[in-house]
């Protein structure tokens, strides 16, 4: 199939944004060649490409999501990569919650990111997870309280 070949070529070469989009275009394609290429891209040096490939495979039913890596990447990422992560979290939604929950006890900024992701997912399991969480410092306590208060307002 022409398109598939083009996207495979695009995944292999070019700027990170183009390769990431190529990975996303290959989601749901079940051929061995595509799956192998996507698996290879999941550990790409570019987090944009790696995350896009992981998300593409997740859409095809293969869970190779590196959620901890995603959270860590978010801490230092530029705005565009943070937004990419936010959109992935939005699309996956509830299944991400049990993967995020243990990361809440990571200290500092990473926990803030997890809190933000759970806030965005915003379902009952995410709420329960935040209620059960015992933050280790005042900033996180405040951030958790803000999120829960905001949640209550809705």
């Amino acid at each position: 199939m022409g398109d598939e070949r083009d996207w495979l070529d695009a995944l292999a070469n070019g700027i990170a944004e183009a390769r990431a989009v190529a990975a996303l275009q290959l989601a749901h394609v079940q051929s061995q060649e595509v799956v192998t290429a996507l698996r290879g891209a999941t550990t790409d040096a570019s987090p944009q490409v790696a995350l896009a490939a992981q998300f593409a495979l997740w859409q095809s039913g293969e869970d190779v999501l590196d959620v901890a890596g995603m959270v860590q990447a978010c801490v230092t990422a530029d705005e565009a990569l943070q937004q990419q992560i936010a959109m992935i979290a939005e699309q996956i939604g509830a299944p991400l919650v049990p993967r995020l929950a243990p990361l809440l006890n990571e200290a500092g900024t990473a926990a803030q990111v997890v809190l933000q992701l759970l806030d965005d997912i915003h379902d009952d399991t995410a709420l329960a997870c935040l209620r059960d969480w015992q933050p280790v410092d005042d900033d996180l306590l405040r951030a958790r309280a803000d999120v829960l208060a905001d949640w209550h307002d809705e």
Binding site: A18, A20, M87
Partner: protein, 318 residues
């Protein structure tokens, strides 16, 4: 006869036909004993209430939650009250006290507030003194605003000193680009309800900053916030959407938009992941694919220069 609960008393106050001064005072008295279930009632009471009652509600909201959410609203309220001259004195004082409660600043500090920030009180006083000399408060001719997208409320590019803000203001000569301390911002949270709430807030913000001509740059979901706001009773003369995830459920009320533009990067993983697409493909929107890639490209000054985007959006605007 048992005493009514604070929530019931609050509901009665808000529904009553009492004078605004009485209502506001009663709300302030009740604030200390209200429980969280009163927040929704306060929110509902905000819409359409007398400005003095609105201030009391915002103050009560802060008392209950500790949240500074209404700080920009109170700043606007002070500005608005000052523009009324002596007629707004009571409202001005109430908003100033409430703002003091929220910021923790004393009245003296509020007077001096402004080094490095907008001096709201000083601005308000200047306007008041002009008013006293007989000049009426006027609607400004033009206002241009920039709206950030998801998770970007702490970003810099859309604020004074930031790349895109300074480019639009200085290079493109948009003196009306709004960059005061109450510049519009929204939570940036990545869910539908927050975008819709932000649209309501934008509507309120624009009503508090009336202008004959309104121009809006919106990035990513910030563009969707702007489109949703057009379903309220506001008009945007120009809506420049920068890399929005295009979704029909966020389409503008096009009759409230003079000219709409959509700028999209060549390759944009963020829009590719977000539900939606890159293109409107409707006559109401002029669309431009960029040679540049990445979700932030559409708000980078170097891209605007290199790809002649001012010309695409018809600048300079007359």
């Amino acid at each position: 006869m048992p005493t009514a609960s604070p929530l019931t008393r609050l509901k009665r106050i808000l529904k009553s036909n009492s004078e605004p001064e009485k209502k506001a005072t009663e709300i302030c008295v009740l604030a200390d004993v209200l429980l969280p279930d009163a927040i929704d009632v306060l929110d509902d009471g905000l819409a359409g209430a007398d400005p003095l009652v609105q201030v009391a509600i915002m103050d009560a909201y802060h008392t209950m939650t500790g949240d500074r959410f209404h700080k920009p609203d109170l700043e606007n309220m002070m500005d608005f009250a000052a523009s009324l001259g002596d007629a707004g004195e009571q409202l001005y004082m109430a908003a100033r006290i409430a703002l003091g409660n929220i910021t923790g600043l004393s009245m003296d500090q509020l007077d001096e507030w402004g080094d490095g920030q907008l001096n709201i009180t000083a601005t308000a006083r200047r306007r008041r003194s002009r008013r006293r000399r007989g000049r009426p408060a006027r609607m400004i001719d033009e206002i241009t605003i920039v709206i950030h997208g998801t998770w970007a409320s702490d970003g810099t590019w859309w604020r004074p000193g930031g790349d895109f803000f300074d480019y639009v203001k200085n290079d493109l000569g948009r003196d009306d680009l709004y960059g005061k301390s109450d510049q519009f911002k929204w939570s940036g949270k990545n869910r539908d309800s927050k975008r819709r709430k932000a649209a309501t807030e934008l509507h309120q913000w624009l009503k508090g900053h009336p202008a004959r001509e309104v121009n809006v740059f919106g990035h990513s979901h910030g563009a969707n916030v702007a489109m949703l706001a057009t379903h309220h009773d506001i008009r945007m003369d120009r809506l420049i959407m920068l890399s929005p995830p295009v979704r029909k459920d966020y389409f503008a009320k096009w009759s409230n938009v003079g000219a709409a533009f959509n700028v999209q990067a060549k390759f944009d993983p963020v829009v590719a992941i977000a539900r939606g697409g890159q293109w409107f493909r409707i006559p109401e929107v002029s669309e431009r694919p960029l040679k540049a890639s990445g979700h932030s490209a559409s708000h980078e000054s170097k891209v605007w220069r290199a790809e002649k985007l001012p010309k695409f959006v018809g600048m300079p605007w007359q």
